[in-house]
Symmetry: C2
Subunit: 333 residues, 2 copies
């Protein structure tokens, strides 16, 4: 049975395109430029906290910020996502991934965190992309649905793939370490695309690197949460990695996930964000189901099964936060 | 341990855009028009059997053929997929889904089957779309990645959704029955998009309808195979439906799937079709892994984890068939 006295709630991508105040604040500034301006990034980070009364702020940043900052040559194209003209092809490209130091490479991220810590009354969550997801952008050169080049390298040139994963694991760790030293209260690693891999591929080509990052971050004594969309089939592998919490995608059954992950791990998620596009009744019924299912988790944080969709009406999320705050403890008891 | 003396192999979407002889034969004819010409459809069906020496032919058809044939008003737009200008919105739209009789509505499909049965030396596999996947096209009006309208109806207007699923289940059954009476040796139901649903959604809104179709088809005494992409998390639900075989998507682990599905069910799949785009060594290594993993299945049919990708080089598939035929029995023993 749940033991939270309250049910905390936050949303992945709670800051961003679904908020009119975000669109007004950011205007046409490129996202990477907005992230590099601490006052602007701090303001954007606080917007959903002020509007929704969520129980955590999520640093306004992007998973490609570290590799962008050291000059790999990757940008974010509006409407597309991360794009590079020279994808990672061989170990020679490792020279383009050298020298990441959060204090030198991304001082603006740390400054944003310091600004936020002096202003926020709720915890601040930092994050980084997990090595596979970042690797897939570097190898494919742009968002993909097939991961053809990534799989060709993974299977056909395993050493080159492994060297890239090792380098990105180090960068991921250093990025999280910098954020933690600057003051974030928890971190989440986003392995957004890893759900496209099979259990075999995850266990053999990815899991050791995620484990490395998690084990090193745990030495820093802040909670680390693990998330990837489309990963219900990988929960057995996620269970072997010593994270503090797992954020469940919307297709998972919470009771089944707890059986796999163990009841000592915090569970987060997993309301289908699509339901926030339908109507209030459907969304609230869904939230009720999630809260009832979460009873088997000792610690539970309400969240969506993936990020807020850009077309979501903020009024729906306001209602959702209110519902969870008012009904969470009772439904979970 | 496997008991097949040979390892049969066929590919989902083995006929189609990846074959130059298909592109030459079909030309610019719309796919629905090509399907409606028995001589043409029979020729296309036989092309991959002749080229690859696969152990089954797959009827050249499409899952929207039945609903198109009774005038729902759905077409296939090249490069997009099934599109309708008037999506299914209320029970009144059920009048657009009346009167399907395979012998009257799609006599050309049955004629194609009869032509093929007189020409083929290998079994012929018929198929139909499962109710959810067809419903999603009718409700959304076009291919979607979010299934927003479908989920809104499923949760918000359950009765309307259920009536549609019941009607489509009847159509699916009748379509399969017609194909079986015309001579197909086995059938496969394609629930292509159901992997986007959660376990809860599948169990509550979809499974009873699939079960209805499967139970009725089983009275006709031909094997029925069940397939959907992205469905590893749903295998526990698939296990409850009395199919003769399950075709596994590429992310599944075959041994884990057998544990869930039982060793009496035939297993099909699950080589990642992306590997056929990489290089021969990577593809053959993948095939070897799949064959070794399949040893726990009594009956196993080699196939891909989803359809042949249009950019696949047919020479790769020729090599794959040869490899499976030459090495399957030994690797599985």
């Amino acid at each position: 049975m749940g033991t939270n006295l309250t049910t905390p709630v936050w949303f992945m991508r709670q800051a961003g395109r679904s908020l009119p105040e975000y669109r007004a604040t950011k205007g046409t500034t490129n996202i990477l430029d907005a992230i590099a301006e601490p006052e602007l990034a701090a303001k954007i980070t606080m917007q959903p906290v002020e509007r929704y009364g969520v129980d955590a702020a999520v640093l306004y940043s992007d998973i490609i910020v570290p590799v962008n900052s050291i000059g790999f040559g990757i940008e974010i194209e509006a409407g597309i996502g991360p794009v590079t003209k020279s994808p990672y092809r061989s170990e020679r490209d490792l020279t383009r991934l050298e020298g990441f130091d959060p204090f030198v490479s991304t001082p603006y991220v740390l400054e944003t965190i310091r600004l936020l810590k002096s202003r926020l009354e709720v915890p601040l969550i930092g994050f980084a992309g997990a090595p596979f997801t970042v690797a897939s952008y570097l190898i494919e050169g742009r968002p993909t649905r097939t991961f053809e080049a990534t799989k060709a390298m993974m299977y056909g040139d395993g050493e080159t793939f492994k060297r890239l994963m090792e380098r990105l694991s180090e960068i991921t760790y250093l990025s999280l370490k910098g954020q933690i030293e600057a003051g974030v209260d928890a971190v989440q690693i986003f392995d957004s695309w890893v759900g496209n891999l099979s259990v075999y591929e995850y266990a053999n080509f990815v899991a050791p690197h995620v484990r490395y990052v998690v084990e090193r971050v745990k030495e820093l004594n802040v909670p680390i949460i693990h998330f990837g969309t489309n990963t219900t089939h990988l929960l057995g592998e996620f269970a072997k990695i010593p994270t503090d919490g797992v954020s469940l995608e919307n297709r998972s059954s919470i009771p089944e996930a707890i059986e796999i992950l163990g009841s000592d791990r915090a569970i987060q998620g997993n309301l289908d964000p699509i339901l926030c596009l339908t109507n209030e009744q459907v969304m609230i019924d869904g939230a009720k189901r999630v809260l009832l299912e979460s009873r088997a988790a000792k610690r539970y944080v309400f969240n969506l099964g993936h990020g807020v969709l850009p077309s979501t009406d903020p009024i729906m999320l306001e209602k959702l936060v209110k519902f969870v705050h008012e009904n969470g403890p009772e439904l979970r008891s």
